[in-house]
Symmetry: C2
Subunit: 324 residues, 2 copies
């Protein structure tokens, strides 16, 4: 695929995944537009695009009417904006539903009105599966989310598929697994375990794992996610939903050990009893089956966790502002 | 189960399913409270409770703060309120999401705050399955709705399950199939095919079926649905989701024929080409597997379509105000 000369809109472009995509699209020679609301507590920060030049940025919610100006004329729309915190979604369910579902309905109405022929890719999450009845979970596994975030993300994702089918728009949905890499917000405890592990390893602080540490997860470097986002724009992906995970999984204890080793950190890894407010949201082990995207779009995660963590930690050592 | 002396809240109690439940609960000796917003174009009408006495009614949205007064002290809460029109959900997606998902989040927050120990039953729809990848669809079949209504109803349903699991609340979700019976709004073309068939048969008007009439559906009399709602309050149903369908299905052409015969009508049944705005929402044939509720709660649809239609048509002949 050639992205040079195309006009791309990235929603959530100040965020972790969004900003890495922006940098990649710029490197490919694309014209890049960004809309991001910079909502407090989320992953977005202007820091993430400080070194990106020529990007047209609108600081607004994706549901805002003025977003139409950025949607108009875009060849490709990467709709990455969203709230990712499970705990925040339980504390404030209405805001999560507003950001992950309602704003996406508004955004889809805008796209349908001003640019229905744009190629559209939405980032969803493996969180929609919740406690899946079978593992590894493929795309035909019933979604049974355990928190409001999983419900709202699924609704936002399905709206993209409804608009794709009902109006002949060209949308693709990607269900991303736990992701790490440069430009992730490290200073929150609510944006996933990986940035917490990284922050603690960099600070030589103890890493606490809830439960016995045996819960398994697959972890993906953001560069692999960016590759998946680009691959998803292929014609074969229209109207399709894909798991985007890593074929190798690890226990949380192993993952923490890999992070500590990659950091050369003196952090101790401890297991602690589940705090009551988290225990009911625990899904145990999880594994994704990403065969569909491999077969249909030729994408496969290629970055090994140890290698990916080494380069990630090097990035944060060079950019201590992410720990400030 | 004994419902005599219990206090029951029925949301959407002026509506089709809700009002039939209210009448049944009154007959069982329950104290009944109703909240209903009487939203224009929906199925709710004061007519449906005109013969019900002693019901405490609040005319409000379920998300309204004053609903807390009816939630407090209720032993059983039947959360039946919702918008059911597929076409309306596409015309105005934000309103459908607001009514079927956001208002339910608000309602659940109210229940959690003022009466978290209440037994809670939510009515969802087989529409969440959309174009299922396997038929008959059981509860582990992935939901792939084809319209905004299916997305929003699924979100409202899953919120009940999240609250049940995360907060130890006692909720059950029922995915209802196409339902017919007394107290259904017949004068709208947007509330399902069955009330349209009934209206046209009663008026001896031609019945038009989109496509070739071979699409199969199971149809359930509302008395069977009410039985399922009562059965769902059993302890075994806590935290569970159930398909509530009929084990016998028919083609739409057969269903129209059964309605016409039951009505002794001179209506002609015609097949017509799919109108373009409906064609993309077509799911083809559908069938539900309702084994789970039979095994776990002992419920099974018992009313044959011909018998159910005969008594339904007799009701409407005695109550011509439903055709006005």
């Amino acid at each position: 695929m050639g992205f040079a000369g195309t006009t791309c809109l990235v929603t959530g472009g100040y965020g972790f995944v969004g900003s890495n995509l922006v940098h990649r699209l710029l490197a490919e020679g694309a014209h890049v537009r960004v809309v991001d609301a910079l909502i407090a507590g989320h992953g977005g920060t202007r820091l993430n695009l400080a070194e990106a030049s020529g990007v047209d940025v609108l600081e607004a919610r994706i549901g805002a009417p003025e977003v139409a100006d950025l949607v108009a004329g875009a060849d490709l729309i990467f709709n990455v904006a969203g709230q990712v915190s499970h705990t925040a979604s339980m504390r404030d369910p209405l805001t999560d539903l507003e950001l992950n579902a309602i704003d996406h309905a508004r955004f889809l109405e805008t796209v349908r009105r001003v640019n229905p022929d744009a190629r559209l890719v939405h980032t969803s999450t493996r969180q929609v599966y919740g406690r899946a009845d079978r593992l590894p979970a493929d795309e035909l596994t019933a979604a049974r989310p355990v928190d409001v975030n999983g419900v709202a993300k699924w609704a936002g994702e399905r709206l993209h598929m409804v608009y794709s089918d009902a109006y002949g728009m060209a949308a693709t949905a990607l269900r991303l697994t736990n992701t790490y890499g440069p430009r992730q917000r490290l200073t929150s405890d609510e944006l996933g375990v990986l940035p917490v592990f990284i922050r603690k390893a960099l600070r030589d602080e103890p890493i606490e794992i809830f439960g016995d540490g045996s819960q398994r997860r697959d972890c993906m470097h953001v560069d692999d996610v960016v590759e998946a986002l680009l691959a998803a724009t292929a014609p074969a992906g229209v109207g399709r939903t894909y798991n985007v995970g890593h074929s190798v999984d690890h226990s949380l204890a192993e993952i923490a050990g890999i992070v500590v080793a990659a950091a050369g950190s003196s952090s101790e890894v401890r297991t602690v009893t589940w705090p009551s407010e988290h225990a009911r949201l625990d899904i145990g082990s999880f594994a994704t089956d990403s065969t569909r995207i491999a077969v249909e779009l030729g994408w496969k995660a290629s970055i090994d966790l140890t290698d990916g963590m080494r380069s990630t930690l090097a990035f944060y050592r060079e950019h201590p502002e992410y720990l400030a």
